[in-house]
Amino acid sequence: LRIMAGKVKWVTDIEKSVLINNFEKRGWIQVAENEDWNFYWMSVQTIRNVFSVETGYRLSDDQIVNHFPNHYELTRKDLMVKNIKRYRKELEKEGSPLAEKDENGKYIYLDFVPVTFMLPADYNLFVEEFRKNPSSTWIMKPCGKAQGKGIFLINKLSQIKKWSRDSKTSSFVSQSSKEAYVISLYINNPLLIGGKKFDLRLYVLVSTYRPLRCYMYKLGFCRFCTVKYTPSTSELDNMFVHLTNVAIQKHGDDYNHIHGGKWTVSNLRLYLESTRGKEVTNKLFDEIHWIIVQSLKAVAPVMNNDKHCFECYGYDIIIDDKLKPWLIEVNASPSLTSSTANDRILKYNLINDTLNIAVPNGEIPDCKWNKSPPKEVLGNYEVLYDEEMAQNDGSDRDLRNRSGQSTGVKGIRARDSGKPALTTWK
C-alpha cells in the first residue's frame, strides 16, 4: 500500500537551467532549504555542511541528495591516488592476479594513473623519481581546485623549490587542503587527432558503492585544445596548448562557439576504427571502462555508502599515442554550463536520465528501495558494473582465465548501438 504523496519538493543551490528545467518538467515543486524537501541538488560546499559532524543533519527516508558524504576520496586528486595505491597493494597482498606486475615492476592491469606524488609530503620521493628521467615534464595541480585553475607545468626542480621542505627560503607549508598540490608525470605523448590534443569527458552515475552499481553515459565527448599541440619546452607556459578544460579553452583566440572544440565519443570511435582498426579500438574502450570500474572499486571500501545519496561524476581521461587510456581525475561537480547549443542539449538529457534513475518514476523517493531501475528508464546510460548481478553469476573474484575471457562482470561495449555484451577484460 503506497501512501499517496504529493509532488517532489526540490531545492538547489546551483542556478543552472539544465537542472531547473528538468525539475519543472516533472512538475516538482521548488522549496527553500529550510523547508521540507525531498530532493536537493547541492554544490560540494553544501554537502560538506549537510554531513558535517557539527550540523548533525539527519536525512529522512524520503530525502535524496546528489553527492556521497565523502566523495572527495575519489574526487580530490591526492586522495584518489592514495586510494588507488592502497587498493593495488591490498590486491597484491591477497595474491590477486589483477595485481600482477611486469618485469619492470609496473602493474599490468592497474597502471592507469600517471605517477603521482603529494607535495610537500612526498617531495623527496618525487625528487628521486624526477632524477630518473630528468627530461620529463610534470604537471602541478592544486588539490582543491577545479576548471584548470592554478595548474602549471614544470620541467626543472628549481621551479618547485618552494615546496621543498629542506629549502631554507621556504616556510613550512601546512598540510591544509588549500595549499596541498599533487605532481603527476605529464603525458607528453598524447594521441593527437588532426594534430590536436584532446581529453575525454565521460559521465558515470553511481547509485550505490556497496554493492557497487554504476552506469556510464553513452554520450561522452572529447575536448580539443584550440592551439596545436607541441611538446616543445618553450610552449610549456601556454595553457591553451596543454590544458583541455573548456573553461580555459574558451578564452583562447580560436575558440569556436558552434562546436566548442568538442567531438562526440562516437566520432572518436569512427575515426579510430577507420585509421587504427576495430580490435585496438574495442580494446581501448574496454580499458576505459575497466579503469573507471577499478577506480570506483578502489574507493568503495572507504566511501560512506549513505542510502540517501547518488552521484554523477565527470571522468577526465587522456589517451596516449599507444592507445593507452590514463585516468587524470574525477569531478564531483561536472560543469553544467553549456558552451554550445549541442552542449545544452547533452547536459539537459544527462540530468534527465540521471533523475530517471535516481528518483524512480519522478515520485517522492524512498531510500529503502533496492536501487535497481528497470532497463527502460536508463535512457542514454548503460550499466557499467553491477556487483550484485556479477556476484550472482558467481565468478566475480575468479580470474583464472586471463587471456581475454569475461570475468563474469556484466560490462558494456560502448558502441552507440548500445548493444550490451560481455566485456572481454584481461
Binding site: 596545436k228 562546436h259 572544440g261 562516437s266 577507420s274
Partner: protein, 493 residues
Amino acid sequence: VSLHKPEIKLESLKEDIKDFLKTSGWEKKLQNAVYSELNVFPSPCHPAAPPEHMKEPLAYMRKAQGSWEKRILKSLNSMCTELSIPLAQKRPVSEQKELLNKWNEMGTDEPDLSLFRPVYAPKDFLEVLMNLRNPNYENGEQPSFRNHLGLIQVPLKVKDIPELKENFSELGLNIGQLGIDDSAQVPPEFFENEHVRVGQKVLAEQDSAAAQQYVRQGCPTALRADLWALILNISNQPEDILYYEQLKSNVIQHDLLVDSLIYKDVKLTASNDDYYFVFEDYLYQVLLCFSRDTSVLEHFAYSSATPPKSYIRGKAGMEEYAVFYPPNGVIPFHGFSMYVAPLCFLYHEPSKLYQIFREMYVRFFFRLHSISSHPSGIVSLCLLFETLLQTHLPQLFYHLREIGAQPLRISFKWMVRAFSGYLATDQLLLLWDRILGYNSLEILAVLAAAVFAFRAVNLMEVTSLAAAEAVLADLSTLKVMPLLQIFLFATVT
C-alpha cells in the same frame, strides 16, 4: 624476386616473364591499373569524332559551360583588380620560412579575409543550369502536362525506377547491407561477420575489381580506408610522397590568390562543422597543394570544362605567355573544402589523404560543378531527382511547386556537395561507399528524392519555401541505406 638468374633460358623467356608477373604480384597491379583506367576514361568514341566530343558530345552544353567559365574568370579577375592582388606572386624568403614552420597549423593563421568573397556559390550555379536550353528542342513557352514541371528544362535521358532497381540491384531487400544489417538488433552472424571476412579476403588479394563489387554492400569501418585506396588504385609509393612534397614546396614558394579563397572557404565551412573542425589544418595542406598540381589538368580531356588561361603580366593574348590558372585549372567555390573533409576520418597521412582526394576529384567530384550531359553530371542528377519526385510523389511535387518551393532549390546544395556536411559522417561514408562501388553519382539524386519522400508528410503541410527549408534543414539523424532501400525497392509505384 627477380628474373636475373642463370637458369633463365631464352627459349622459355616469354613464359618465365608471365609466371614472374603472377608470382610477384605485378600481374594484379597491372590489372588494377587497367581497371582504373577503364573506370575513369570514357569508352572510345567514333574515330572521326573530334576531341571535344570526348569532353562533351552536345554542342549546346559545351557552349553553356564555356559561358559559365567566362563568368567565373571575369569574377575572379575583377576581385583581383579591386583588391590589387596579383593572381600569383613569389613569396619573400622570410615569408617562405614562416609558412614552412607553420605548415602543420595553418589554421591558427588569421589572415584578413574580409575582402575576399567566394567566386561563386552553388545557388549561382543552379541559376545557370535552370536557363539551359537545347536549341533543337521545342519547349514551348507555356508549361503543360507534357512538360517537365521542374527547374531543369533540357531533355536528357535519366533512369526510371525499374532501371535504377536493376542498376542498384545489390541494394535490394534480400541482400545484406552495411548501414542496415549491422545494426544493434541484428546478430552479427547473420551478415556482418561474413561480410567482414570477405572484405579481408578482397584486401588480401589486392583485386580492384573485386573491391569495387564488394563495397556496393558497404565497407566495414576498419577496412574502408584500404578498400577505397584499392579501388582508386592509390598505393602511396615513394614517388607519390615525393610528388606531394614537391607540391608542398610550390606552395611555400609561391602565393596564389586562390589560396585566400581556400582559406576563406575552410573558415566558413569545415571550421564550423561539428565533425570536421578537428581536421582544419589537413584541409589547407591538401587544398593548397591541389591548386598547384598540374597532373589534375589531365582530367580536362574527359571533362566538359576547360582550364582557365591567364597571361603573364603585360603579355595578354600572347600564347607563349599563357599559363593555366590556377595551375590545376580548378577554381574553388563555396563549400569545395567539404569534398576533402570526410576523407580525414580515413587517412591521417597527408600525402595519402592528398592522393585519395585528388583521385576522387578527377573521377567524381568534378562532375558536380561542370555543365555536361554525362549521366553522373550535375545536370543529369538534377533532372533525375526532379523526375523521380514528379513521377512518384506527384502530389508533393505539385504542392511544393505551388508554394514557390521548387524541390531542386533545396536539394541542389546536397547533391553538389555529395551530401558532405549534411549527413552524419558515418552515414556519409556509407553513401560514398556506393558511389565508388557503382562508379556513378546517380545515387545522390536517388537519396535526395528518398529524403523528400521520407519527410513528405511534414512537407505537405508547409506553405512557404522557408518552411520547406526548415523541415529539411537537419539531415544529421538520417540513416541513408534504409531510406534508399525503401525508396527503390519498397515503395508502391
